[in-house]
């Protein structure tokens, strides 16, 4: 039995709450003066509203936006859906076409599939073998009836980065609304919605050290993309998102964004170095391959492939000692091989022999070394019982 806490290398699924954020949330939850509804005019309501607006400014700053352009949501899934469903449903009668890529997060894919059911046409771009969407391909997919282009900034499984600024420029020239899913990149890569010509940008707190259950959608002021809300009921959030605001969640999100912005460059350098140290350590389990290329990419993600290894058995070998993901935790209801890795050209078997190791601010060098040793031992143990020829067949 292992009793020590497992090494957590699943930051891309969700990052542990930063202790400063936890302190801010708990202070807020326990402050008798902050218990009101931020929509109420009385003193406790106004006090809550003041904290909400402070946080809105912190959240906005992380992506180079004005505070008034931030709409709070329950997470990145809601933000992505509000952007994609909202923009498409509010688009003019002859704007019935969308452009997106096959390697987007399930939130974007499933929202686009829903729009197909509603009569929209979707151009599903294939990514190159490096995993990124080619701006030239986006350009040639645009039509006079294109209502929206939706792309992720960085991929949640591979960390592969799309050239958002290039696509933004393109959409600006063609007058098409551009939505970016920045759930993985916010707080990890510099983002400037103005410079990148982004109309809508989705992100959430729990991937960057904030609480689960709160996210944001940046909605550009000018020109302001038309959006149909997902939920109705009163004028909250500029009429785009009804519902009482969760003060403590928003306060926590604000603190997390402020911390992330302050530490962005330092964190990125540190985490990137740790990831390379992990990769070096894994060489003792050769053959081992890296999925999704090397650079540029999100600093914290290392997606590796161990030929001859079955993912579920590898995970159970590590269970209780190393927490990692054989894919995106967000879609773990299914056990299908990753469509993201498939899009990189990997076979089903190769995808199943892969593991996503994602590091974060809290990761230490000692953890990385232990993780590498554990992985090498587990891979070697499983390989030792393979039938002859399996390593060659399963890669």
């Amino acid at each position: 039995m292992t009793t020590a806490a497992p090494i957590y290398l699943d930051h891309a699924a969700t990052a542990p709450l930063d202790p400063q954020v936890a302190a801010a949330i708990c202070e807020c939850l326990r402050d008798p003066g902050l218990q009101g509804n931020a929509a109420s005019v009385h003193a406790p309501g106004r006090a809550a509203a003041v904290r909400v607006e402070q946080a809105r400014a912190q959240v906005a700053r992380l992506v180079g936006a004005e505070p008034g352009s931030i709409v709070f949501t329950s997470g990145a899934t809601e933000s992505v859906n509000l952007a994609i469903l909202g923009a498409a449903r509010a688009a003019g009668a002859n704007l019935h076409h969308l452009v997106t890529a096959r390697t987007e997060h399930r939130a974007a894919l499933d929202a686009c599939r829903q729009l197909e059911r509603e009569g929209f046409a979707v151009s599903w771009l294939a990514t190159g073998s490096d995993g990124s969407a080619d701006p030239a391909q986006v350009a040639s997919a645009l039509r006079p009836g294109t209502a929206l282009v939706s792309l992720m900034h960085a991929n949640n499984e591979t960390g592969v980065i799309n050239d958002i600024a290039a696509v933004g420029q393109l959409c600006l020239e063609r007058g098409v609304t551009f939505h970016v899913d920045a759930a993985q990149s916010a707080g990890k890569l510099p983002i400037d919605v103005q410079a990148m010509n982004v109309a809508l940008l989705s992100f959430c707190a729990h991937k960057l050290g904030g609480p689960k259950g709160i996210g944001a959608l940046y909605v550009r002021h000018r020109p302001r993309p038309a959006l149909q809300p997902l939920q109705f009921g009163g004028g909250h959030e500029r009429g785009l998102r009804a519902g009482s605001l969760a003060t403590h969640q928003i306060v926590g999100f604000g603190v997390a964004c402020e911390l992330a912005l302050t530490r962005l460059a330092d964190d990125a350098a540190r985490v990137r170095a740790l990831r390379e140290r992990l990769w070096a350590g894994l060489q003792a389990a050769a053959p081992v391959e890296r999925n999704g290329g090397t650079e540029p990419g999100l600093p914290g993600i290392l997606n590796v492939r161990f030929p001859g290894i079955e993912g579920e058995s590898l995970l159970l070998s590590l269970d209780g000692r190393l927490a990692a993901s054989s894919g995106s935790a967000c879609s773990s209801a299914s056990a299908e091989p990753s469509y993201v890795l498939r899009a990189l050209g990997l076979s089903d078997l190769a995808a199943q022999a892969s593991l996503r190791l994602s590091l974060g601010r809290a990761t230490t060098g000692e953890e990385v070394d232990r993780a590498a040793a554990l992985l090498v031992a587990s891979v070697n143990r499983l390989r030792a019982l393979l039938p002859a020829g399996a390593i060659e067949r399963i890669a």
Binding site: E310, S325, S338, L385, P387, A388, I394
Partner: protein
């Protein structure tokens, strides 16, 4: 990709942790037989090896690629066969394995691969009689 939400039974966890009889047969007397089944698309590849002497399984081992249930099933079978008289072996079909291991329905396809490998080996063993 991502793992399944299956919670592994205590028996699966124990077998997986030790994987008794994994690897190759030790040196010894008797006639070697084996059975192998592979269905990469279903996610399993299993090979059993045994040494038969005087109608008894005097040694048994397995090699496998697959999920924890597949490996546990192979280890369970290899352990049970060990010392058993040919013809007396319990019926290790996939359904029975699934029940004993508490495996979810979607694992049946893989357990059938285990069953196939076993049947192949037992057929050879019976042929020796």
């Amino acid at each position: 990709m991502t793992g399944t939400r299956a919670i592994y039974s205590q028996l699966v966890r124990e077998l997986f942790e030790r994987l008794p009889h994994a690897g190759d047969l030790g040196p010894g007397a008797g006639t070697a037989v084996h059975g192998e089944a592979m269905a990469l698309d279903r996610g399993a590849w299993v090979r059993f090896d045994a040494r038969i002497e005087d109608g008894r399984v005097v040694d048994c081992s397995f090699r496998a690629w697959g999920c924890p249930h597949t490996l546990a099933a192979a280890a369970l079978i290899a352990s049970r066969l060990h010392g058993e008289g040919i013809g007396n072996e319990a019926a290790f079909d996939a359904l029975r394995l699934a029940r004993e291991l508490g495996a979810p329905a979607e694992k049946l396809g893989r357990l059938l691969v285990v069953e196939d490998a076993l049947s192949g080996m037992l057929a050879r063993a019976h042929a020796l009689q």
